[in-house]
């Protein structure tokens, strides 16, 4: 509603009019931003979903292999086999900017270049199921990293969309109507003042003329 603590002056009116124009422009821009964010988010989230399904299926398969491998080997020999990992993965991160949201981009390097250099054990004391299990996990790693990237991006964008949506709504339902009401209040107040000045002037003129020409006495006569 029109705030009661605004002073109905012409200066305030110009200020408010300027503010309304800015608010309208901001509202339009934010709305466009929200729509575009939403479009990008929907694409990302679909990708996220697909990747997740793929990775979860892959891990399930890998786990099955591991269980199989474990069933044919003793606990100790499994532990020994995995004791000293050969491979090492390090990540370098970068950020990409999508509609003012910074999202991470991961690049990974393995210590050795050979993709097959993942078996940290000799082949003599382990079952071939274990090789399969390790291989299936290794094949999954790029997808897992991609999933991490996409899922993080989704989370960050969801937060940004929520923020933008709130801003758009605040502008649309609070700021703009409030400013409009204030402008209306001031302009009607100013009009009112103008009218009362006009009337006062007319009245004064009447009184002056009355004093000079004594109309009422003449009419009465």
């Amino acid at each position: 509603m029109a705030a009661k603590n605004i002073t109905p002056t012409r200066m305030e009116l110009t200020r408010l009019k300027r503010k309304l124009a800015t608010t309208r422009r901001g509202h339009k821009l934010l709305k466009d931003k929200r729509d575009e964010l939403m479009r990008q988010f929907m694409d990302l989230v679909r990708e996220n979903m697909e990747l997740r399904k793929k990775v979860e299926a892959g891990i399930k398969a890998a786990n099955k292999n591991f269980v199989l491998a474990k069933s044919t080997m003793s606990e100790e020999s499994v532990n020994v086999a995995f004791m000293t990992p050969k491979q090492e993965v390090s990540l370098s991160t970068d950020t990409k900017n999508i509609m003012s949201v910074d999202i991470p981009v991961f690049q990974y390097q393995t210590r050795t270049n050979d993709a097959n250099d993942i078996y940290s054990y000799g082949l003599a004391f382990t079952s071939s199921d274990l090789d399969d299990a390790v291989k299936s996990l290794a094949d999954l790693l790029p997808d897992m990293l991609h999933l991490a990237e996409v899922e993080k991006a989704c989370q960050l964008m969801a937060a940004e969309i929520e923020k933008t949506r709130r801003r758009v709504n605040a502008l649309e339902h609070v700021m703009i109507p409030e400013t409009e009401a204030s402008i209306k209040y001031i302009s009607s107040k100013l009009d009112e003042n103008e009218r009362s000045t006009q009337i006062r002037l007319m009245k004064v003129k009447d009184m002056l003329l009355e004093e000079a020409h004594h109309y009422s006495e003449r009419n009465g006569a």
Binding site: M38, F41, M42, V45, R46, N48, M49, R52, V55, E56, I59, K60, A62, N63, F66, V67, V78, N79, F82, P85, K86, Q87, E88, V89, S90, L91, S92, T93, T95, D102, I103, P104, F106, Y108, T110, R111, I118, Y119, S120, A133, V134, L137, A138, L141, M144, L145, L147, A148, E149, E151, K152, C154, Q155, L156, M157, A158, A159, I161, E162, R165
Partner: protein, 109 residues
């Protein structure tokens, strides 16, 4: 240079060690929470957590949700898929859209 961590029940994660990821086996959420905080502030960019362990770490995980790093990603453990990972994606959609439009649409396909 950042590193990748995997946390979870010992049985679910030991395979990842061969790939060169750092594994942290945990059974109790309390210790895991401490470790998670340490890693998030350290140089881990991606932390995979099994759904089973994540159950007890929800508050901790949500703290890092809106930061760029680390990315905390749930994975199904050896005991099976609880659907928690998928429901987190759903949560993102709900947060952004206000309702779950994606999965309503998928059911129709």
């Amino acid at each position: 240079m950042y590193k990748i961590a995997v946390m979870g029940e010992p049985d679910s994660i030991y395979g990842f060690a061969t790939l060169g990821l750092d594994t942290f086996p945990f059974d109790s959420p309390e210790e895991a929470a401490r470790q998670l905080r340490q890693m998030a502030e350290g140089d881990y960019a991606v932390i995979y957590i099994t759904e089973g362990l994540a159950e007890g770490l929800k508050a901790e995980i949500d703290r890092y949700r809106e930061q760029i790093l680390p990315a905390i990603i749930l994975l199904p453990g050896v005991s099976g898929n609880t659907g928690e990972g998928i429901s987190r994606v759903k949560k993102s959609v709900e947060q952004a859209v206000g309702s779950d439009i994606l999965f309503g649409g998928q059911n129709n396909e």
